[in-house]
C-alpha cells in the first residue's frame, strides 16, 4: 500500500479545506507551537478508524469538529479523506462526523462500516494503532509499557 494524499475540512483547527501530499522519503512538518501539527497526525489516525476520543486528546468524539475561534463560529461537521494505492488500485477512504450524530465511513464512494476500513489498513500492516505512528510525548510509552503489552507489537509484525 502507498499513502498518497490527505484532505481535511472542519477537523480540529483545520476549518478550511486543505491538502497534504504524502510523498516517498522524508517529509518534515514544521511550525510554531499550537499551529496544528499534531492535529494532522490525529486526522490520519481518525480516518483510519480510531475509536477513542481520549487518544485524540478530546473528551468526546465531537471534540474533533472545529469548535470556533475568537473570530469564527464553530462548525457542525468534519471530514477527512485519505487517498491510498493498494495493489495498483487507488482507494479513497472518507470519514465524516456530524455534531451529536456520530461518524460514518465511505470507501470509494460506498458506505462501509468502521470495521471494513480498519481491516483494509490492518491487512497493509498499518492502521490507527500502528506502532509506526508515534504521537507527541509517546516515544517513551513502549519502554514504560509492561512486557505483556509489548507482545502485541510482535503479533502485529507476525
Amino acid at each position: 500500500m502507498e499513502f498518497q494524499r490527505l484532505r481535511l475540512a472542519g477537523f480540529k483547527s483545520f476549518v478550511e479545506a486543505c491538502e497534504l501530499r504524502i510523498e516517498p522519503g522524508l517529509t518534515g512538518v514544521v511550525g510554531p507551537n499550537g499551529c496544528g501539527k499534531s492535529n494532522l497526525l490525529e486526522a490520519i489516525r481518525w480516518v483510519m478508524g480510531e475509536g477513542s476520543a481520549k487518544s485524540l486528546r478530546g473528551g468526546g468524539m465531537d471534540d474533533v469538529i472545529f469548535a470556533g475561534t475568537g473570530a469564527r463560529p464553530g462548525r457542525d461537521f468534519a471530514e477527512v479523506l485519505l487517498t491510498v494505492e493498494d495493489n495498483g488500485q487507488t482507494h479513497e477512504v472518507v470519514r465524516r462526523i456530524e455534531r451529536g450524530l456520530g461518524s460514518a465511513y465511505r470507501l470509494d464512494g460506498r458506505d462501509v462500516r468502521a470495521r471494513d476500513v480498519q481491516l483494509l489498513f490492518a491487512d497493509a500492516a498499518t492502521g490507527a494503532h500502528s506502532p509506526a505512528l508515534v504521537s507527541q510525548g509517546r516515544i517513551g510509552a513502549i519502554i514504560a509499557a509492561k512486557p505483556a503489552e509489548r507482545r502485541i507489537l510482535l503479533e502485529e509484525a507476525a
Binding site: E2, F3, S13, F14, V15, E16, C18, E19, L20, I22, E23, P24, G25, L26, T27, G28, V29, V30, G31, P32, G34, C35, G36, K37, S38, L40, L41, I44, T69, A71, R72, A124, A125, T126, S130, P131, A132, V134, S135, Q136, G137, R138, I139, G140, A141, I142, I143, A144, K146, P147, A148, E149, R150, R151, L153, L154, E155, E156, A157, A158
Partner: protein, 163 residues
C-alpha cells in the same frame, strides 16, 4: 500462530540488535520473551546497554537513551513487516546534537531501504535540514491552521515570523 510469532520475534530481534548498535554507535541490546514458555502468552522484554555501561533496568535509562531505544524497536518492527506510513511527532525533542545526527542518518537509510513514507514533525533545525521536503503549518489567522509547502531554505523562523 506460534511458529509465525517466533519467526517474527527472531527477525525483529535481529534488526533491533543492529539498529541499536547504529543509533548508540556501540553498546549491545536484545529482545527476550519472558514470563511464559509459550510464546503466545509471553511478554516482550527489552534489554539495552549503552556503550560502556552495565546492563540495567530500562527505567534507569535517560530520556534521550529511551527515545533512541524505542526508535530502534519501532524501526525493527517495520523492517520485519513493512509499514506504508511512519509518523514521528517530535521524537527528536529529547536528543542532543550528536544523537539528532545519528537519528537522521538512520532515517535516511530507512527511506532508502524501505518503501515507507515518513512524516516527521520537528522543531529541530538540523532535522529540518535533513528532510527531502518541508510542509509548514501556520496560523496566520489565530486558531485557523493552514498548510503551506515550504521552500526548504525558508524553514521554521519564517513561519514563526508570520504569526
Amino acid at each position: 500462530g506460534r511458529v509465525r510469532l517466533v519467526a517474527a520475534f527472531e527477525a525483529v530481534d535481529g534488526h533491533f540488535r543492529t539498529l541499536f548498535g547504529t543509533l548508540f554507535a556501540g553498546g549491545a541490546a536484545h529482545l527476550a520473551l519472558i514470563e511464559s514458555d509459550d510464546p503466545l502468552e509471553a511478554g516482550l522484554e527489552i534489554m539495552a546497554q549503552p556503550p560502556g555501561k552495565k546492563l540495567q533496568s530500562l527505567t534507569l535509562l535517560s530520556g534521550g537513551e529511551q527515545a533512541l531505544t524505542a526508535t530502534a524497536l519501532i524501526f525493527a518492527l517495520f523492517l520485519t513487516t513493512p509499514s506504508p506510513l511512519c509518523v514521528l511527532d517530535e521524537v527528536d525533542a529529547p536528543l542532543d546534537d550528536a544523537n539528532v545526527e545519528r537519528f537522521c542518518d538512520l532515517l535516511d537509510r530507512m527511506a532508502e531501504t524501505t518503501a515507507t513514507r515518513f512524516l516527521i514533525v520537528t522543531h529541530n533545525a538540523v532535522t529540518m535540514s535533513r528532510m527531502h521536503r518541508l510542509y509548514g503549518v501556520t496560523m496566520a489567522e489565530p486558531g485557523v491552521s493552514q498548510l503551506v509547502s515550504v521552500d526548504l531554505r525558508a524553514a521554521e523562523h519564517l513561519l514563526a515570523a508570520a504569526e
